[in-house]
């Protein structure tokens, strides 16, 4: 019997569960390697060559090259691991989060200063439609 995953209907959210962690293992471990200054230098010198040392999928590698944080998470990345790539690239948590929302950096900053994204209409997939 399949396990209960009650979190799959939360909109705009990927829960990093053990299935996602299995898919993203090498992607996340690659990110982890960037905590060492020498590895950061090697990666920056030739990103593609460094990535090819890891048994990641081509899609995962492309998402890294594109700094597409949203895509990385869809492919099994976890935000805390991916943040090592962010740090290497000069991108803060707020920067990475903003890119995943489709807002500009300034729009996202202003949204947070005004109290953040409301939970209203953001609890269930299709909630807005259901409420008509």
């Amino acid at each position: 019997m399949a396990l209960d995953k009650p979190y799959t209907d939360v909109p705009g959210t990927i829960i990093f569960d053990t299935d996602m962690a299995r898919q993203g293992y090498h992607l996340n471990q690659f990110c982890m390697s960037l905590m060492k200054a020498a590895n950061r230098e090697r990666f920056k010198a030739n990103e593609r060559a460094y990535l090819d040392e890891w048994p990641m999928t081509e899609e995962q590698k492309q998402a890294v090259l594109d700094r597409n944080y949203k895509r990385m998470l869809e492919l099994g990345g976890n935000i805390y691991f991916v943040s090592k790539l962010g740090a290497t690239s000069g991108h803060s948590f707020q920067h990475m989060a903003a890119t995943m929302t489709g807002l500009s950096q300034d729009e996202y900053l202003q949204m947070m200063i005004k109290g953040g994204r409301s939970p209203e209409g953001n609890r269930y997939v299709g909630e807005e439609k259901k409420r008509g």
Binding site: V10, T13, I79, F81, M112, P119
Partner: protein, 280 residues
């Protein structure tokens, strides 16, 4: 005999640490966050314990996906400040309390909580940011600190109920330590925040404040809250709040004295919550 005298609860947003380290704490954006902890700094100076059990989570710093312990206690003499990719924070190293930590590990494991015992552990912002908020920028932290790491990164984290019961087991362990020590237990992380996906930036002020109310007055009931409610209401990273239940479980069964309560939005992506509770 040792005893738990108080508990402290605090968010541990990395941007707060960066703001302090880079001298931005007096800027308009950050001033209210640090001002909320001014009474807490004064309180801690007057109520410096002999040791702090500091419940936090490692953010893919010391624990990669090679190994993910659900509960881990640091029993070393010293813990270094981690390089999280930006270089280590300019804060003092953390000195542990190996004797008390070993005692807690032995007692709690015999109480059916299968802790991982860790002697080499670099501590990240999850542990150092609450210390900075409560202590400012001292040359050394005011007392020995026992890092207690909880997995809240790889889903599922431990349940609220499990965390609350673990807190009680930690209290029992401290109560049975032979030396006369005044111990605080701190719970960190939260409050509402989501760092990922199109729903990033979620903040739920009403829910956060209800959480604070219940943590004070009805921790047992609060501990029954399922993970999905944290995720749906407080964001995917809001689930860190289960760690607060460990600190709350370590408190006496009698109603605590609320010394200080603070709430502010935002710190970067996050709602900052803070409580100080004393046993009475």
């Amino acid at each position: 005999m040792a005893r738990v005298s108080a508990s402290v609860y605090s968010s541990h947003t990395p941007a707060i640490g960066a703001a302090l380290d880079l001298g931005k704490s007096t800027q308009d954006y950050w001033k209210p966050v640090f001002a909320g902890f001014d009474p807490s700094k004064a309180w801690l100076q007057q109520h410096t314990p002999d040791a702090i059990v500091l419940v936090y989570n490692d953010h893919a710093t010391s624990f990669s996906l090679e190994m993910v312990p659900t509960f881990a206690i640091g029993t070393a003499e010293r813990f270094e400040v981690a390089d999280e990719g930006w270089g280590p924070r300019p804060v003092p190293p953390v000195f542990g309390h190996p004797e008390l930590a070993a005692h807690i590990a032995q007692s709690v494991i015999q109480d059916d909580f299968d802790l991982t015992v860790v002697n080499r552990l670099d501590v990240d912002h999850g542990l150092t940011v609450p210390l900075s908020l409560m202590c400012g920028q001292p040359q050394a932290w005011p007392c020995p600190i026992i890092p207690f790491a909880v997995n809240v990164v790889l889903y599922p984290p431990p349940s609220g109920k499990r965390c609350y019961s673990l807190g009680k087991a930690i209290r029992k362990a401290i109560d049975s330590f032979d030396k006369n020590l005044n111990v605080q237990v701190w719970g960190t992380g939260g409050m509402s925040h989501q760092l990922q996906g199109p729903r990033a930036g979620l903040i739920n002020t009403e829910w956060d404040n209800a959480f604070l109310d219940r943590l004070i007055a009805d921790p047992e009931g609060l501990s029954a809250m399922p993970h999905i409610e944290y995720v749906r209401e407080a964001g995917s990273e809001g689930i860190e709040l289960v760690m607060w239940l460990i600190a709350r479980g370590a408190m006496s069964d009698k109603a605590p004295k609320v010394v200080h309560r603070f709430y502010h939005v935002p710190a970067s992506n996050t709602a900052v919550g803070h409580l100080i509770l004393e046993n009475q």
